[in-house]
Subunit: 370 residues, 2 copies
């Protein structure tokens, strides 16, 4: 069977009131689909992306060599099997890959939004994803699935639209960020905002790019995505050349890797989107936001939940995923939990791993409606 | 008894050949002493400072409110007891508090050294500390003591001048940096070097300061000095004001703390020194450097060793300190090891802690020559 990759843009012509109070009158959502929606529309899956992700999760475009960010997971015969499932993945608003966000133009002014684009929360994203769902005439998601910030969106779906999802898979996530998580995000933001080319966020209108700041933010991010162990295995203290240079050029392989990752990132990501995504992470705290209403919300939810963590993930370690499991168990939900042994760190959720893929496949086969 | 604080500068008028091959013809060492050298000169202690430390370890100057960085540890009746011990602490060369370094002027050109000041290794520092020892006519250190990068210098002393130290205390250190340690240093360096005001390191000659880059480096450093737990206890997710702001100003207390730490740091630290200190950390690997010679070096060493680590230190966690213990035990040295329970993270080595201070005091009382 084929992946049946289709890329489209949904023009959502009704307004949305954001958590901040700001109203967006209309917006575009760039999205991709794989597989086919069945006749009774019961096989639809929503994939939510993480900080630097986008709608292009699987397959590849004719003019590109690179596959989508979760191509190992999504496709014919893969754990998220497009032979039987219809998969939808979107670029969230505030993103920078085709959906309305800081790097798109405000129709009213003809200028790039930049910092005039409002901060969007996970709850706002779930509302926009619901609009896309209506646009696609999908009555219910058979699964909502995401890793990291994507896992937070999956979790939010279960609380916000409890009757519209059959199954929920939350991978490498946490119910809220710790002070340390916020601290890393803040340093990344400061790196961008202290770059003179950031221009108060107006760089696109001024034909500039805060490349230095954004690459620093990405370098820092990479440290938190990898585990100490995986860095050790991958780089150790290997020198780039045979001897120490006694200057400030690259000595060690790890330095070269980070610089490369930083430079690569700036060519396809928008700095203001990076700021927005990190704020959305910081603000995520659905238990606090729903408060007393969480109980009634979850009472309506009949989903099966799968929560997955990775042993070497120090950004959202297993104990943080267990907080989600405990919350769901406290509300008498059906929860499966898997702690996957991996040295891959936080990024393990994007990597091929037999145990991880088996857990995903088995849960999906057992729970899917088709 | 009084601390008997004295601050002086030693002009070392003979040249030193650095590990890089560069020769420095002469240099100044700013240093401080506490207590009194006894008649047989057997009560001298060398204190080695860490990345951002300097010679001012204890007491306070008449015109300042702030006490030295290890004032809780050094003084009359304190673990490093100046009633019986003569304590020497210096600002390492390449530093920025009075010793020759990037922020001092090259006598030949009249210009600030900046990036023309060579990279200095831990081994180079130990050689310059030996010169200060000769200058002060101290025949032997009763103790060499240091935490973090200072602990590495103490360790290096034991290998490099094995017969010149009676006791060695290595706190919160590691025998070499991991790829992750190097990665954090590299991001800090890039933050400084990407600041346009860094001017290729020539900022002092150009009347500029790379404040933004240096403050970023410090913010990042602070994340690695504190533990996840201590951040949680200290800040949690506490908001600075009552509500989320939905902008990019400070929302959470941790953000405010980091910004403050970054800003405070730039007023009394030199960016090029920061670069140099992090490179010195990265390069530290005495086991590799000494190779086969380590065995004969350590055979000559009759010191008692005390190695101390802190449970919540994730920069140089207990397992890294244990590598030092194992190395020393393999060479049949007399080693005491203490793993101190603390939530203080890497910075715990600077904090008051009953167990820690008892271990220090007991070891010093037991081992001192007076």
């Amino acid at each position: 069977m084929t992946l049946n990759l289709k890329t489209s843009t949904a023009n959502i012509e009704h307004s949305i009131k954001l958590a901040s109070g700001t109203v967006i009158p209309s917006y575009d959502i760039r999205y991709e689909t794989y597989g086919k929606l069945n006749q009774d529309k019961s096989n639809a899956i929503l994939i939510c992306h993480a900080l630097s992700g986008n709608h292009h999760a699987a397959g590849k475009y004719d003019n590109e060599d690179k596959y989508g960010w979760w191509d190992n997971m999504i496709g014919p015969g893969k754990p998220i099997d497009t032979d039987s499932l219809y998969v939808v993945c979107l670029n969230n608003i505030g993103g920078c890959h085709g959906s309305t966000g800081p790097n798109t133009k405000d129709k009213k002014t003809g200028k790039y939004f930049g910092m005039n684009f409002p901060i969007v929360t996970v709850s706002d994203w779930v509302n926009t994803q619901k609009s896309l769902m209506d646009y696609l005439r999908i009555p219910k998601w058979n699964f909502v699935i995401g890793g990291s910030l994507g896992g937070m969106q999956a979790m939010q779906w279960a609380f916000q639209f409890p009757t519209l999802i059959d199954n929920c898979i939350i991978i490498a996530a946490a119910p809220k960020l710790t002070a340390q998580n916020i601290a890393f995000n803040e340093v990344a933001r400061q790196a961008i905002m202290k770059d003179p080319n950031w221009c108060g966020g107006d760089y696109l209108n001024q034909n500039k790019l805060p490349d230095k700041g954004l690459s620093l933010a990405r370098m820092l991010g990479h440290i938190t995505y990898l585990s100490d162990d995986s860095m050790k295995k991958k780089f150790g203290r290997d020198l780039r050349e045979t001897e120490l240079k006694f200057n400030y050029e690259v000595d060690f392989e790890i330095e070269s890797y980070l610089r490369y990752q930083g430079e690569k990132f700036v060519s396809n990501f928008d700095a203001n989107t990076y700021l927005l995504m990190t704020k959305s992470l910081d603000y995520f705290d659905p238990i606090k936001d729903f408060g007393d209403k969480l109980k009634t919300r979850l009472a309506k939810n009949k989903s099966n939940f799968l929560v997955i963590s990775f042993t070497s993930d120090w950004r959202f370690p297993p104990k943080r995923s267990k907080e989600i499991v405990e919350l769901l168990l406290d509300h008498k939900k059906d929860v499966s939990y898997a702690e996957i042994k991996s040295s891959g760190g936080h990024d393990a959720f994007l990597m091929e791993n037999e145990d991880y893929f088996d857990v995903m496949k088995n849960f999906i086969v057992r729970s899917k409606c088709v």
